[in-house]
Structures are given as structure tokens and as C-alpha cells.
Amino acid sequence: MKTLLVACLASALLAPALARADDFTLTIKDHKFTPSELKVAAGKRHTITVVNNDATPEEFESHALKIEKVVVGNGKGVVRIGPLKAGKYPFVGEYHEDTAKGVIVAE
């Protein structure tokens, strides 16, 4: 229930960010990413701000996107992706791979 609430709140907060074509935000809470699926335009560069609301550090990692980035507890980090071909690009929080996972869908 709490997770659902957080998800709703996060998506409401994210709406303005999504309106801008190139900037996205991923939020980590309880070792989970919100949103867990991010749609981006293929063939363009994008900036994703990873906000870590947990007290523990996390490493945003994706072999598909060739990114490894440490985001400290209660901190944030910027990752740059693209240009991507259409397809699915999974990512994980390496320190909590069981729960912290998501996918970027380029289309």
C-alpha cells in the first residue's frame, strides 16, 4: 500500500519532468526504482537524474547502457544516455539487485 502511494506520488511529481523531452528522474526508495520502466525517444540524448532517497549508497549499473554510477545515500547523480536504438535496456541497483531493477525502453 505504502509502495503504491509512493509510486503515485512519484509519478505525479514526475509529470512535469516528463514534459521536457530530454530530462528524466529515477527515484530510489526502499531499494526500488520509481518508475521501473522509463520510455525515452530513440536516437536522442537524454539526461536522467537518479535520486537516492535511501540512507544507503547504490550503484546504478547497466551493461546495456554502459553506465556504472555510484549514488550516495540521500544524494543524487546524473547519468547521460543515448543516442539509443529502439529496444529495451535493463538497469539495476547493483547493491540490491533483487529489488532494484528497471528497464529503459527506447522507441
Partner: protein, 276 residues
């Protein structure tokens, strides 16, 4: 516990592989002091890892949020230069050392210079991977949940990584002495090329170098970089499942530069026929 073991082992694996290769590459160089230099490298790397982990937030925020990428790229670039220096030095002196080892069966103690270079490489490898291990273990301590068993997993992960390092070292030592310099020189050249390709990708991620960043191919179906074998190949030869054009260019250029450097270093050759 197993989860922590695997995470830590994966990080230590990369540094362990590099330490193993470096130890084998310096086999026969300066018998005394070699262990000390490697120990200094590991010790310095661990201290550096703790410092980097402590300032991870500050590093990340530096240079408009590209600090971490820039830092990683610099660390890798320094390692590449040190590996080139080592190979050039070995190209010049390796044959004498090998000849002497064959004739008197002991290591010569000529020159500590490649040892300092390789101590730096070891230190930087431990620093890079170690800081991630420190952050991971810190996270466990901070969250306080089932700390004991997870911490034990972490320690076992480090032990497994160290064991793997020893395995690499003794595996390489099994190579006949005649070939060991050639083999380790090639390994170090590939190691350096992979690191250079990784460094430009960090610059790309930091938004500092975006030329030729289109993906050339995708071999993730064949070998995933997330698998243990994929990670080993990533460290060993710079395997990347989706390399960019720039990564390929830099990879090839590093190999060519290394080859030319070794040729040049070898150039002022004394008549060899007499010494063999």
C-alpha cells in the same frame, strides 16, 4: 550472505585479476623488494578506496555532476600510461633478465622502476574496485539489518577474490620461462587497451566526449557482460557487449601505440647472437 559474497567477489575479481597478472609480469625483476612494492600498491589502493568512498558524494557533485566519471577516466588513463611504461621497459630489459634467469636460475635485481609503475597500477585497480566494496559494506552497516551474516559474506567475497588472484598468478607461472615475458606483455597490452576504451566511455558518460558514440554491434546474446565470464573478459581484454565507435578507435590505437613503443624501446639492440 551469499548475495553479499557474490557482489563483493565480483568487484574484487577485477582487481584480483590485475594483481595476478602484474605479479606474473614482474616475475624475475628485482627479486627483493617486489613483494614490498606490490604490498605498497595494495595498501595504498585500500587507503585510497576508503578515502574515495568517504568523499563519494563530493566527487560525484564536482564538475557539474561529472566528477565521478572524470575521476574514473583519470584513474584508468594513469593506469594505461603505467602499463605502457612497464611494457616498454620490459621490451628493453626483458631478454637480459630472461637470459640471466636461465643461466643462473635466480632473479636479477636490476632496476626497481617497472615495479613502481606496476605498484601504481595495482594501487589504482584496488582503489577503483575497493571503493565500491567499501560503499557496499558501509551500506550494510548503515542499514543495520542482519549485519553479521552479510558482513561475513563480504569478507568471504574478498577472500575468494584474493584466492582468484593467486590462481591467476600461479597459472601464469606455469607458462615456460621462455614465453612468460611475451605472454605477460600481450596480456598487459590488452589490459591497457581495455582500460583505455573504458576511460573514453566514462568521458562519454560524463558528457565530456560524445564523438562517435554510436553503438557498433551488440553481442550480449553471445556473452553477457553481467556474467562472471563476461566480467573476466571485460577486465582481461576489454570485452564490451555494445562498443561505441570511439571505444573501438581508442582500443585499436592503444594496441598500436603499445606495439610501436615496444619496438622503439627494443631498437638500440646490442648484437644478440653472442649472448644466447
Amino acid at each position: 550472505m551469499l548475495g553479499a559474497l557474490i557482489i563483493v567477489f565480483r568487484e574484487v575479481l577485477e582487481a584480483g585479476l590485475i594483481v595476478g597478472i602484474v605479479l606474473a609480469a614482474t616475475q624475475g625483476v628485482a627479486g627483493r623488494g617486489r613483494g614490498r612494492w606490490i604490498a605498497i600498491g595494495i595498501g595504498g589502493g585500500l587507503a585510497g578506496a576508503a578515502i574515495v568512498a568517504a568523499f563519494a558524494g563530493a566527487i560525484s557533485e564536482a564538475f557539474q555532476g561529472s566528477g565521478q566519471e572524470l575521476f574514473n577516466a583519470c584513474v584508468l588513463a594513469i593506469a594505461v600510461v603505467m602499463l605502457m611504461w612497464h611494457n616498454a621497459w620490459m621490451a628493453r630489459h626483458g631478454r637480459e633478465i630472461a637470459a640471466e634467469m636461465r643461466s643462473i636460475g635466480v632473479a636479477v635485481s636490476e632496476g626497481a622502476r617497472p615495479l613502481t609503475a606496476l605498484a601504481v597500477v595495482v594501487g589504482l585497480a584496488v582503489l577503483r574496485e575497493g571503493s565500491e566494496v567499501v560503499l557496499f559494506l558501509y551500506g550494510i552497516v548503515a542499514s543495520g539489518t542482519s549485519m553479521g551474516s552479510v558482513f561475513l559474506g563480504g569478507v568471504l567475497g574478498i577472500a575468494c577474490g584474493a584466492a582468484f588472484s593467486a590462481l591467476t598468478y600461479y597459472g601464469l607461472l606455469a607458462i615456460p620461462q621462455r614465453y612468460i615475458f611475451a605472454v605477460t606483455s600481450w596480456l598487459i597490452a590488452l589490459l591497457a587497451a581495455g582500460m583505455a576504451a573504458q576511460a573514453v566511455q566514462f568521458l562519454n558518460n560524463g558528457g565530456l566526449l560524445t564523438a562517435f558514440d554510436n553503438t557498433m554491434w551488440d553481442t550480449s546474446w553471445l556473452l553477457s557482460e553481467g556474467s562472471i565470464l563476461g566480467r573476466l573478459m571485460h577486465t582481461l581484454i576489454g570485452y564490451t557487449e555494445r562498443p561505441t565507435g570511439m571505444q573501438l578507435i581508442v582500443y585499436v590505437c592503444t594496441l598500436v601505440a603499445m606495439y610501436l613503443l615496444m619496438r622503439i624501446a627494443r631498437a638500440p639492440e646490442r648484437p644478440r647472437a653472442a649472448t644466447v
